[in-house]
C-alpha cells in the first residue's frame, strides 16, 4: 500500500489491477465520489478502515465527533448546505446503534447520507460476538437502502450503488455494514465505476404530458391559486425554475420549514410559513383558495392540521418525485409526478402570465392582522423580559439574511423559522420531520464544513443544547467556526406551552436547569458571553458574529412565552389561533 500512496493520483481508474485491501478500496471509492469530509468515530470493528485513513489525510478530512449521533447530524448539516452526500463512519454495536436517530432524521427529511459501519468478522455473525449488533435489521426502517458486505470484492460496486441511491430521486440515507474481514481482505482492485442505473430502482418517474396539461389548465382558470412548496424545490436544485413559475403565474407561495429559503424571504410572492406555527394568511387561505399547487412537499400533519377539513374546496395539484407521496395524505386531482426541475418549466411554458392582485392583497390583510396581534410585540417588545423573536430580529439586522441558520427543535425552532430572513437557498437547516432535539449543534458543525464561506449560526434551546453539548469538543478540536446562540427560557418550552394550553398548566417535568453555558464553552476554549439585559443584546450579537472563531452566546429570554399563531392539534388550519 505504500507504493500506492507514493503516487499522486488516486486509483479511480488504474491501468491494470492493483492489490489493495477492502479498506483502501472503500477510501478510493469515497474520493472518486467527490467526498472530502467524513464525520466519524473509530472503534474495534472499523479499525482497518481507520488504519487506511491514516494514509489518506491529504485527500479526506476526518472530523472526530464526540458521539456517533453527532456524526450523523453533522453529515446531515453538511449535505443540506452543500447539496452533496454526507458521510459518517461508526464502529459496530453501540457505534452503529448510535446512528439510528440521525438515520431516521435523514430518512424523514430526505437527506442524502452514506453511513459506513464496521461489523464483526463474518464468521462471527450471529454468535453474539463482542460489539455485534444486527445493524442491517435495526436500520432497515430508517434507511432508503442498506447492505452488508462480507467480501472485499463487493466494496467498489456496493459503494457506487450506495451513493447513487442516496443522492438520486428522492434522496435519503444509506448504510453499508462492512465486516472486519472484508476491510482487511486483499483483492485485485479494478478501479471505481460510478453507478448510473439499477434495474429495480426508478429514481424519477416518467413525466406524463397529460397531467402537465391538466395542471396548466387548472392553474390558468384559477381565481385564487395558492402554491405550497417544500424541500423538494431545494433537493431538485429547482429554485430558479420555481421562481420563474410563480413569477409568471403571479401565484402567492407559502413554504414548509424545510422549503424556507428556496425563494428569498422578501420576494413579493413569498407569503410566509405554513403549518402549526406558520403564518396566519397561508393557513387560513389554504381553506379559501380554489387551486392548491403543492410542490415538493408531503402534507405532513403539522402542515395540514385536521385532514378532513383541509382545503376541501380546492382542486389539488401535487408535484412530487416520489409517486408514493401522491394521494398519501391529501388526494390530488392532478398528480404531476416527476423531478420538479423538469416538470416546473413544462408547467411554466403552458401557464399564462397573470397577476392575482386582489387575491394577494387578501394575504397582505392577514399579514397586517398577524403583525398587530403577534409579530410586533414578539419582535419589538420594548420592555419586560426579552423575547426569542427580538433576538432573531436583531440577528437579521446584523447578518442581513445572509447567514445559514441551523436550529434545534422546540419553541426557538419555530421562532427562528418564522422570523429568520433568508436571501439564499440552503440556509435553513432544521430537523423537520423527526423533530430531533440535539440536532442543532452537530448539524451546525456539518453545515459549516458544507458551506465554509458562509456564517453559520446555530440557534438552540437550553434543553436541546444539553442533549448533544459534548460536540463542543468537536468544535474545539476541529477549529470549525460556528456561532452558537442559546435562547435560554429555563423550560422545555414547547412542551410547557402545550401543558399550559391543553393540560391546565400542569408543568410536568419541563422545568430544566442548566449548567453555566459560558463556563462550559470556556472549558472547551470557546469564547462566550451571557446576556440578560436588552440593552446588551445588539452588541453581544455583533461580538459573536465578529469573533474570529466559534462563539457561544447565551441569551436569557422570557420564561413563559408562547409561540403564536398556533393551529391546535386536531384543529383545521383555518382555525389557527392568534393568541
Amino acid at each position: 500500500m505504500e507504493t500506492i500512496q507514493a503516487e499522486s493520483n488516486t486509483l479511480t481508474a488504474p491501468e491494470k489491477t492493483v492489490t489493495v485491501s477492502g479498506s483502501v478500496a472503500l477510501l478510493e471509492g469515497l474520493i472518486a465520489e467527490g467526498v472530502d469530509t467524513i464525520f466519524g468515530y473509530p472503534g474495534g470493528a472499523i479499525m482497518p478502515i481507520y488504519d487506511a485513513l491514516y494514509d489518506y489525510t491529504d485527500k479526506l478530512k476526518h472530523i472526530l465527533v464526540r458521539h456517533e449521533q453527532g456524526a450523523t447530524h453533522a453529515a446531515q448539516g453538511y449535505a443540506r448546505t452543500s447539496g452533496h452526500v454526507g458521510v459518517a463512519f461508526a464502529t459496530s454495536g453501540p457505534g452503529a446503534t448510535n446512528l439510528v436517530t440521525g438515520l431516521a432524521d435523514a430518512q424523514i427529511d430526505s437527506t442524502p447520507m452514506v453511513c459506513i459501519t464496521g461489523q464483526v468478522f463474518a464468521h462471527l455473525l450471529g454468535t453474539d460476538a463482542f460489539q455485534e449488533t444486527d445493524v442491517i435489521n435495526i436500520t432497515t426502517p430508517v434507511t432508503k437502502w442498506n447492505y452488508q458486505i462480507t467480501d472485499a470484492t463487493e466494496i467498489p460496486s456496493v459503494l457506487a450503488k450506495a451513493f447513487y441511491i442516496a443522492r438520486s430521486g428522492r434522496p435519503g440515507p444509506v448504510l453499508i455494514d462492512i465486516t472486519k474481514n472484508a476491510q482487511l481482505q486483499l483483492f485485485e482492485y479494478e478501479g471505481y465505476t460510478a453507478c448510473e442505473h439499477i434495474r429495480s430502482y426508478r429514481p424519477k418517474p416518467n413525466i406524463r404530458k397529460e397531467y402537465i396539461e391538466q395542471a396548466a389548465e387548472l392553474i390558468n382558470s384559477a381565481k385564487k391559486p395558492f402554491v405550497l412548496f417544500g424541500q423538494g424545490v431545494l433537493l431538485g436544485n429547482a429554485e430558479a425554475e420555481f421562481q420563474a413559475f410563480i413569477e409568471k403565474t403571479g401565484i402567492p407561495a407559502a413554504w414548509t420549514i424545510l422549503g424556507a429559503g428556496a425563494i428569498p424571504t422578501d420576494h413579493p410572492l413569498n407569503v410566509g410559513m405554513l403549518g402549526m406555527h406558520g403564518n396566519y394568511g397561508p393557513n387560513v387561505q389554504t381553506n379559501s383558495c380554489d387551486v392548491l399547487i403543492a410542490i415538493g412537499m408531503r402534507f405532513d400533519d403539522r402542515v395540514t392540521g385536521r385532514l378532513d377539513k383541509y382545503a376541501k374546496q380546492a382542486k389539488v395539484i401535487h408535484l412530487d418525485i416520489d409517486p408514493a407521496e401522491i394521494d398519501k395524505n391529501v388526494k390530488a386531482d392532478v398528480p404531476v409526478w416527476g423531478d420538479c426541475k423538469e416538470t416546473l418549466p413544462l408547467l411554466t411554458a403552458l401557464a399564462e402570465q397573470k397577476e392575482h392582485t386582489e387575491w394577494l392583497a387578501e394575504f397582505r390583510a392577514y399579514d397586517k392582522a398577524e403583525r398587530e396581534a403577534v409579530i410586533e410585540k414578539e419582535l419589538n417588545p420594548g420592555e419586560g423580559e426579552m423575547t426569542m423573536g427580538e433576538v432573531l430580529n436583531k440577528l437579521n439586522e446584523l447578518t442581513g439574511g445572509n447567514a445559514v441558520i441551523v436550529t434545534d427543535v422546540g419553541q426557538h425552532q419555530m421562532v427562528a423559522c418564522r422570523y429568520a430572513r433568508f436571501n439564499e437557498t440552503r440556509s435553513n437547516i432544521t430537523s423537520g420531520g423527526l423533530g430531533t432535539m440535539g440536532f442543532g449543534l452537530p448539524a451546525a458543525i456539518g453545515a459549516k464544513f458544507g458551506a465554509p464561506d458562509r456564517t453559520v449560526v446555530a440557534i438552540i434551546g437550553d434543553g436541546g443544547f444539553q442533549m448533544t453539548c459534548q460536540e463542543l469538543g468537536t468544535i474545539m478540536q476541529s477549529g470549525v467556526n460556528v456561532k452558537i446562540l442559546i435562547l435560554n427560557n429555563r423550560f422545555l418550552g414547547m412542551v410547557r406551552q402545550w401543558q399550559q394550553l391543553f393540560h391546565d398548566k400542569r408543568y410536568s417535568f419541563v422545568d430544566i436547569t442548566s449548567p453555566d453555558f459560558v463556563k462550559l464553552a470556556d472549558a472547551y476554549y470557546i469564547a462566550g458571553k451571557k446576556v440578560t439585559e436588552r440593552d446588551d443584546l445588539g452588541n453581544a450579537l455583533k461580538e459573536m458574529l465578529d469573533h474570529d472563531g466559534s462563539y457561544l452566546l447565551e441569551v436569557m429570554v422570557a420564561k413563559e412565552n408562547n409561540v403564536f399563531p398556533m393551529v391546535p392539534q386536531g384543529s383545521s388550519v383555518s382555525e389557527i389561533r392568534l393568541k
Binding site: 432497515t140 441511491i165 448510473e196 442505473h197 429495480s200 426508478r202 416518467n206 416520489d322 408514493a324 398519501k328
Partner: protein, 204 residues
Amino acid sequence: MSNSNETDNGKQEFTITAYTENRIGILNRIAIIFSRRKINIESLNTSPSEIEHIHRFNIVIHETEEVVSKLARQIEKQVEVLKVYYNRNEDIIWQEMALYKVPTDVIAEKVLVERLLRENGARVVVIRKDYTVFETTGHREETDKLIEVLQPYGLIEFVRSARVAIIKDSEGFNRKLREFERREPGEEVIENEYLDQPKNVFSM
C-alpha cells in the same frame, strides 16, 4: 366463484403481487411496511419467478382498497422491488396446497378412500404402514373441507401452503423486465399504473 368477502367497513381480501430482486433483506423491507401500520399478512408466498434472479411475492391482506393502493406504492418504492400489482379475488386465479397426515389403519378400515379422494380432488402422496399423506389444492374452503372430513379419522398433522395467484389479465413480466433494464425506459414502464386510472381505483 366470487370471493370478494366484502365486509361492512369496506375491507376485503386483496392479493398483492410483487416482483423483486433476489436479495437478502428484501423480505424484511416488505414485511415491515405492513407491520409498521399494524396490518396483518394473512398469507405470504415468495419464490423464484419465471425469470432468473427475480422473485415473486404473493401477499394476501384484508384491507380497504385505499390502504392497499398506498401499501403497493410503498412496496414499489423499495430500491430492490421492480413492480407491484394488487388485485381483488375476482381478478386472479389462485390456489393453496394442503397436506394431511392420517393413520393408515383407520383410513384403510373405516373410510372409502377412493370416494374420499375423488370427492375432494385429493391424491395420495405417501402410504406407509403407520400413516398416509393426502394432498389437495384449492381455495381455502376446499382445503378446510377435507380437514373436516378427515378429523374424525384421527388427522395427525395438517399443513397448508400460502396462496399462489395468477393475475387474469397479466401478460407476464418478461417484456416489462427488458424495459426496466433499459436506462431510458419507454412507455412500457408505467409507475403506479393504478394512478393512471384514478376513476377505477379511487372511487370508494
